[in-house]
């Protein structure tokens, strides 16, 4: 017989309660904390190495027999290839400046989610083979060898980092833990470990074009359905040009905005804006996904999916690409496109706005302009007739999506637009926005529902700041420029700040846009009543 434990004993009985040193405390694969594994046939189709069936919660992950050699060689190869990786392994002084900057650490309070210790998981392996003292002193200086538990741990924490780069902002050496995570995910893929929510879209984008693998004709029909909805709201049915050759512009945006609520309203916003401008553009069904799911997988996969966009630009003979509101698409374009697939096809030229004549010189290399740059420029030149009072029921704030903010420096254009299409705009606290923005908690392919519980803790710093402006200033809306955010922020808001709606910037643009020949607007794009529509006027 045993005595009943006291509440204090129960509270301190967590398995990760510090009995062992931090490096020896192993992660618990509890449901809600890990993503479902990818399917073997998906990996085979994509020619990924060592496809196999496995279950993250099982003891044995069925790793290939020579897994240790595969991993050691793969790590060596990457150290050779990426000088930055070697540098990141060598120069960290463990000053701890990054420790409490990660939303995963702030939400889980798990020390291994401190960027410095997340990187240390890999660095400890590096130290054994590359640091003189590591070879001699081993564990004493934090060096260790590969074993199967280490593989599990690397997997666990590589999918508890959204590659958001907030930590790198605070590191005096600029160590980018996001890049370390990207390498760890690549290493895991070498032994056949990946997650379904990333690999399934990679397969669909590779073979069909959009992330759900919807066939081109059906994809087109769904877009037409959205154009019909535009007509219901405005009386104008925008055109939906697909796969047409000889236009000036190819428009590429995340396909999530064609399928998912509330992203569809942002998509309708694009359709209406382009119609109003009579823009000379086309969509492509093959390059119908701007989001590069490959960038959550490996260098080569990211390169392959990025190439698709330029192949379509070439095939369709367009001069430049206009890109929609997406997060990581822009990181890939801004930081990696040149290395992956540059230079652009010969038919492409430095983008120039056909409406204002503005030359987007910063896009000279990639030939790709962000839609908020394009629209902000239109507003600046007085080319849009806007009635912000149509958004008067909204008090909005703006969530800086990690990639456009930190990997591209797109901070002011979305705000400039919002201030012209809404009369009520409120910023969240200074240390949670712009370069210091907190991630939605589910970027880099972690926006899957099985880890909703993890997402609610990793997204907490964002949700917490949103809740603050909701309670203090009555904020009831959060705009963003990323399709993953449009999917991940609504549940986050429902949990942390219920009552706050989420939308893209161009949904609000289209609501405020007074179009030539439009009918009297009584509804917004969601077909909800607009404010200030007088009952008498209706009669």
């Amino acid at each position: 017989m045993a005595k009943l434990p006291t509440p204090q004993m129960l509270m301190a009985s967590r398995p990760d309660f510090p009995k062992a040193a931090w490096l020896d405390t192993k992660p618990l694969f509890a449901p809600g904390s890990y993503c479902y594994p990818e399917k073997k046939d998906t990996m085979e189709l994509l020619h990924m190495p060592n496809p196999h069936d496995w279950d993250p919660s099982a003891e044995d992950w069925n790793l290939p027999e020579n897994w240790e050699k595969i991993l050691c060689d793969a790590f060596e190869e990457r150290l050779e290839k990426h000088r930055s990786l070697k540098l990141f392994m060598d120069i960290c002084v463990r000053c701890g400046a990054c420790a409490d900057k990660c939303h995963f650490f702030l939400g889980t309070n798990d020390p291994k989610n401190m960027p410095v210790l997340r990187a240390e998981l890999l660095r400890s392996l590096y130290r054994r083979d590359h640091a003189m003292l590591g070879k001699i002193l081993g564990r004493k200086i934090g060096a260790r060898k590969w074993d199967k538990e280490v593989v599990k741990e690397l997997f666990y924490y590589a999918y508890q980092c959204t590659e958001c780069r907030r930590c790198s902002l605070f590191c005096p050496y600029g160590i980018d833990t996001a890049e370390i995570t990207a390498i760890v995910r690549e290493l895991m893929h070498e032994v056949g470990l990946g997650i379904h929510w990333i690999m399934d879209p990679v397969k669909n984008c590779s073979f069909t074009g959009n992330h759900l693998g919807i066939q081109p004709h059906s994809f087109k029909e769904i877009v037409e359905m959205l154009a019909d909805d535009c007509e219901t709201v405005t009386g104008i049915r925008p055109k939906t040009p697909f796969n047409e050759k000889g236009h000036e512009i190819l428009f590429i945006t995340p396909s999530g905005d064609v399928f998912a609520d509330p992203g569809i309203y942002t998509f309708m916003g694009y359709l209406l804006l382009f119609h109003e401008l009579d823009l000379d553009y086309t969509f492509s069904t093959y390059a119908s996904e701007g989001g590069n799911f490959g960038s959550f997988t490996s260098f080569n996969m990211a390169k392959k999916l990025n190439a698709k966009m330029y192949a379509e630009a070439k095939r369709l003979g367009v001069k430049w690409i206009l890109g929609g509101e997406c997060g990581h698409m822009w990181r890939v374009i801004n930081q990696y496109m040149e290395t992956y697939n540059g230079p652009t096809p010969d038919n492409m030229v430095v983008p120039t706005s056909p409406i204002t004549g503005t030359v987007f010189k910063h896009a000279a290399a990639t030939k790709m302009v962000h839609i908020t740059e394009f629209t902000a420029d239109l507003i600046r030149h007085g080319k849009l007739n806007l009635d912000p009072s149509r958004n008067d029921h909204i008090i909005t704030t703006f969530h800086d999506s990690c990639n456009p903010a930190r990997a591209m420096g797109l901070l002011d254009e979305p705000r400039y637009i919002l201030k012209h299409v809404c009369n009520h705009f409120v910023e969240m606290p200074e240390n949670t926005i712009r370069e210091q923005t907190f991630c939605c908690g589910a970027g880099s392919g972690l926006n899957t529902e099985e880890i909703m519980e993890l997402r609610m803790r990793s997204g907490m710093p964002r949700g917490n700041a949103l809740r603050y402006v909701q309670q203090k200033f009555g904020v009831n809306h959060m705009a963003c420029v990323c399709a993953i955010d449009r999917a991940t922020l609504p549940p986050l808001a429902d949990y942390w700040a219920p009552g706050v709606n989420v939308s893209g910037v161009h949904e609000l643009v289209a609501n405020a846009l007074v179009m030539k020949g439009e009918g009297k607007r009584t509804m917004d794009l969601r077909q909800e009543d607009l404010p200030n529509v007088d009952a008498e006027e209706d009669q």
Binding site: S13, F105, G107, M225, A260, L454, M460, N464, Y495
Partner: protein
């Protein structure tokens, strides 16, 4: 001395001890970050613990309070603990971490026939607060389950509408696809 007077002198200490006790439930390497930074946005959990401590001590002391105000003070802390991979008992058990503190700090002054029943009232208030915390916890877990379902539905919202249109005989406007 009545309960409120005793609490007046002890509040700061009880708040401090409870904040420490809660922070001590987290892994040792994480504790410095939770206790050193006072900014509510860059150390949100630390801020939540401190906010809850203030509200809870006020309620335990028997002061006149609005139930809603107390709930508001512990809401965020319960929300985060509801999703930190803790058992329900661990998540809300933090309320009972007050008990040893109260017995060390308050009981010695009330351990006499004239005031002992008042001390028991204090501990009973702790039970009420634990029940409130439990209600909040369950509500949060229900929201968590709901948003999972809602997200699955929203992801495929347009696809479903399109598929339903295919099956209906209603005219499909400009549609040219199969099913027409």
């Amino acid at each position: 001395m009545n309960t409120q007077q005793i609490f007046r002198d002890k509040t700061d200490k009880i708040v401090k001890l409870w904040v420490e006790a809660v922070i001590n439930c987290y892994p040792d390497r994480s504790r410095p970050a939770l206790s050193s930074n006072m900014d509510p946005f860059t150390n949100p959990v630390g801020g939540m613990i401190r906010e809850a401590a203030q509200g809870l001590v006020l309620a335990i002391s028997g002061a006149d309070i609005q139930i809603e105000q107390i709930k508001k003070s512990i809401e965020r802390l319960i929300k985060i603990r509801a999703v930190q991979a803790l058992s329900p008992g661990e998540a809300i058990g933090i309320i009972y971490l007050f008990k040893p503190i109260l017995r060390a700090e308050i009981l010695p002054q009330m351990n006499k026939p004239s005031s002992f029943s008042e001390y028991l009232d204090i501990e009973s208030r702790l039970d009420t607060l634990a029940m409130m915390a439990f209600d909040l916890y369950v509500r949060d877990r229900e929201v968590l389950a709901d948003i999972r379902i809602k997200e699955i539905r929203n992801q495929y919202a347009e696809l479903k509408r399109w598929a339903q249109n295919l099956n209906s005989n209603a005219p499909l406007g400009t549609f040219t696809g199969c099913g027409n």
